[in-house]
């Protein structure tokens, strides 16, 4: 029979077992080898971390192999990752003193890391930037640090169209030099009407930070100004009203389908499966999308409020950066490897424009003629908007990495009817102020 004692004993034994089981996989999780073994540039062991996709992983592997021939005594240990887990891992490594020597950095987190002294001043360490296009180096400068990161490729925000869906709906592809935000909705509605149920004109774009930034810039504001939010509640409200119209006019899918679509892998998304005609992306993702759609994608400029592409207020963004740890044991070797990545045409030929179009003009000239059709689309797009660019936006301040989550949350609440567009606009401003504080 059960006694009080034996129940207690069970109570001790079962959690004990659970604890034992729980520590299994974690207990063995030792970290990789520490940094290098000296400050010498010609012999060192470097760790290189990045997020990406299989194509990028392969190209990065090849470039590391190629570096073996330049510097036979330098070993580059590769630590590929995925976007979602990358930042959690990097933060933990930083806290544990296990930061990789060279990391791929994003604009959102640049001041987060650089501002806290985690990144080396590359200019101070002697990285040459003389061949870079004007304006493409400055985007990596952080006040008080210097050149915290070097541009690994240029990007611009764009619309991607699936021409097959347009054809199915019998709708012409719009002229992107004159279209407005309302034209976009109208075109999308026509496509939704002209196609079977479950196919839509456009994705729900209300939670897309890049497009939000285009929108507020066209309203004469920007995402950030002087380290705080650079837009007012009126503009944010107009944005959410526009997003609500996507849903209400059936130009795009309803909230529930959109939420699910956002969580899908790229190849499972509505756009890749031909269920939606228009989506948005950064231009370095043109290639990936192009491969998923049978007839290839068409790249268009985002619409403007005035109906003139000259007022589209686009900008070149660093799609990503390379940065070197301030605590690396071999700063010279690390900087030299970064120099190879961004300044060597040989490395450029391997990496191509997968991380964005190189800011280094010599490298760009060396690789552009050999690009395939999909990559050419991305480069042509960047060239075509060059004369229409607006001012360069301010760098994301500390805490701004949360903005996408904040925007998504407010947008979802609004689409599910929990908030009005005006309330959602106010929420975004409040939450952003809290995150930046």
């Amino acid at each position: 029979m059960l006694s009080r004692r034996s129940t207690l004993a069970l109570g001790m034994a079962v959690p004990g077992l659970a604890a034992l089981a729980a520590c299994g996989p974690n207990a063995s999780g030792g970290s990789g080898s520490g940094g290098g073994d000296g400050g010498d540039a010609s012999s060192a062991s470097l760790r290189l971390a990045w997020w990406g996709n299989p194509t990028r992983d392969e190209k990065t592997q090849q470039v590391a192999d190629a570096y073996k021939e330049v510097e036979p005594d330098v070993t580059v240990n590769l630590e590929p990752g995925e976007w979602s887990g990358y930042w959690d891992k990097l933060a933990t490594q930083a806290a544990g003193g296990d930061f990789p020597d060279i990391v791929q950095m994003d604009e959102k987190y640049l001041s987060e890391y650089a501002g806290r002294g985690a990144l080396l001043d590359l200019a101070g360490a002697g990285l040459s930037t003389t061949d870079f296009a004007p304006g493409s180096v400055e985007v990596g400068e952080v006040e008080g640090v210097g050149l915290a990161a070097i541009n690994a490729g240029l990007n611009a925000f764009c619309f991607l169209l699936n021409p097959a869906v347009f054809e199915e709906a019998g709708v012409d592809i719009p002229d992107d030099t004159t279209w407005t935000w309302d034209d976009l909705l109208e075109t999308a509605q026509k496509i939704t009407e002209g196609t079977p149920d479950g196919t839509y004109g456009m994705t729900q774009m209300g939670s897309v930070q890049g497009l939000f930034q285009v929108f507020v810039r066209q309203a004469g504001q920007d995402q950030y100004k002087d380290g705080a939010a650079g837009f007012d509640v009126d503009t944010a409200t107009k944005w959410f009203e526009w997003a609500k119209e996507i849903q209400d006019t059936k130009a795009g899918p309803d909230a529930s389908v959109s939420v699910e679509d956002a969580a899908q892998a790229m190849d499972q998304s509505l756009f890749a499966t031909g269920k939606v005609a228009m989506t948005v992306a950064w231009s370095n993702q043109v290639v990936a999308h192009d491969g998923l759609v049978p007839d290839g994608v068409t790249v268009l400029r985002p619409p403007s409020m005035t109906g003139s592409a000259a007022d589209a207020e686009l900008w070149y963004k660093a799609s990503m950066y390379w940065a070197v740890s301030a605590k690396t044991q071999s700063p010279e070797a690390a900087v030299k490897f970064v120099d190879f990545l961004v300044n060597s045409p040989d490395a450029g030929k391997i990496l191509s424009v997968e991380r964005g179009v190189p800011g280094n003009l010599t490298v760009r000239e060396a690789i552009v003629p050999d690009l395939d059709e999909a990559n050419t689309k991305a480069v042509d797009y960047l060239n075509s908007i060059e004369q229409e660019l607006g001012d360069a936006p301010e760098i994301t301040p500390q805490g701004g990495g949360q903005f996408e989550d904040i925007l998504t949350r407010a947008c979802e609440d609004m689409l599910f009817g929990k908030l009005s567009p005006a309330e959602a606009g106010q929420r975004v401003l409040d939450d952003l102020a809290g995150a930046l504080a």
Binding site: R5, M12, A91, A263, D405
Partner: protein
């Protein structure tokens, strides 16, 4: 627990019935106090060696991190820069953090709806399996399977697909004429429900414990009740349940603690966001986001301690209330 013959000075096995682990521990301690501690026992060294892995684990991944997190709870710690002492700032911030309050509500719903449902499912199946059916061990394994898999990432992904707008659930429902159903995981009104369902489905380990408990109930009580003409239901409520209360109590305590700490399901089903619109933002998920994606480890540490206090509080209540309903036979 068999002592090697001959060489044991303390012969604490001379009881009438086999002792439980706790009893054994108590008698070891008491015999040591009588002067046993000073003698150099040849087994002491090997005992220490065998305990080392556990000790290292306990110190390295439980005790020291806990002490560190207590200290960090009073700091502003971004992970990237050294922590700065801020006193009670984090606690003040927690009082006014509406997302934190929302995450508590979500977690409480999960714990206080999910756990009872899970235990009821476990008990009913245990009773069913205890009927002496053929192939018992096969069924036991089958029903235990979800518990092995339920906490895993793969099942959470499967769940997300099944309960999606075009998932299996909606397609089956479509065959019966229910069309235009929402995506269950992508709708804020139903997303938490799907995760609770996943939790209920992992009833295996309480079920096994219930089964063991049912085996301990002497057959003679049921026979006597049958002679008196008791129905099956009466036997269940008058014999099975009362004699099983220690096991029920044990399962309640354990499962409540477990449920408060749930993380994987919500993380995977919502893609790490706690969405749609924070409807699956579990306390642990918010803690994780604060610490690792929002660079606020000090705040996350303070949250971890609040969770410990909450869990301790409910466990204490459980033990207190148990006096009134748990029946021990000794």
């Amino acid at each position: 627990m068999q002592s090697p013959p001959g060489d044991r000075p303390h012969n604490f096995h001379e009881g009438k019935k086999p002792m439980s682990a706790v009893g054994e521990l108590a008698s070891i301690v008491s015999s040591r106090k009588k002067g046993g501690a000073k003698e150099k026992h040849p087994d002491n060294k090997s005992a220490a060696v065998f305990m080392t892995p556990w000790l290292l684990g306990f110190l390295g991944i439980t005790l020291i991190p806990m002490i560190a997190s207590f200290a960090l709870a009073f700091t502003d710690y971004s992970l990237l820069a050294p922590p700065e002492f801020v006193g009670l700032e984090n606690i003040k911030q927690m009082i006014s953090d509406t997302r934190l309050h929302n995450s508590l509500v979500v977690t409480f719903i999960y714990v206080f709806v999910g756990t009872p449902l899970q235990l009821i499912a476990a008990l009913l199946l245990a009773v069913l399996l205890n009927q002496g059916m053929k192939g018992l061990s096969f069924y036991r394994s089958i029903f235990y399977l979800p518990s092995l898999l339920g906490g895993s990432v793969a099942i959470a992904i499967l769940w997300r697909q099944m309960f999606g707008a075009n998932g299996l659930i909606n397609q089956v429902a479509g065959m019966f004429g229910f069309t235009d159903l929402p995506g269950w995981v992508s709708n804020p009104d139903t997303a938490l429900g799907t995760i609770i369902l996943l939790h209920v489905w992992t009833f295996g380990s309480p079920m096994i414990i219930f089964l063991a408990g049912l085996r301990q109930i002497p057959e003679m009580y049921y026979e006597a009740a049958s002679v008196d003409g008791a129905s099956t239901m009466t036997k269940f409520f008058r014999i099975t349940i009362p004699l099983l209360t220690p096991i029920i109590f044990f399962n309640v305590v354990l499962q409540v603690i477990n449920a408060f700490q749930s993380f994987t399901q919500a993380f995977v089903v919502s893609g790490g966001t706690g969405g749609p619109s924070d409807s699956t933002m579990f306390y642990t998920l918010y803690l994780y986001q604060k610490g690792f994606t929002q660079f606020d480890m000090g705040y996350a540490s303070a949250m971890a301690w609040l969770l410990l206090i909450i869990v301790a509080f409910f466990t204490a209540i459980n033990f207190f209330v148990s006096k009134f309903w748990v029946f021990y036979d000794d």
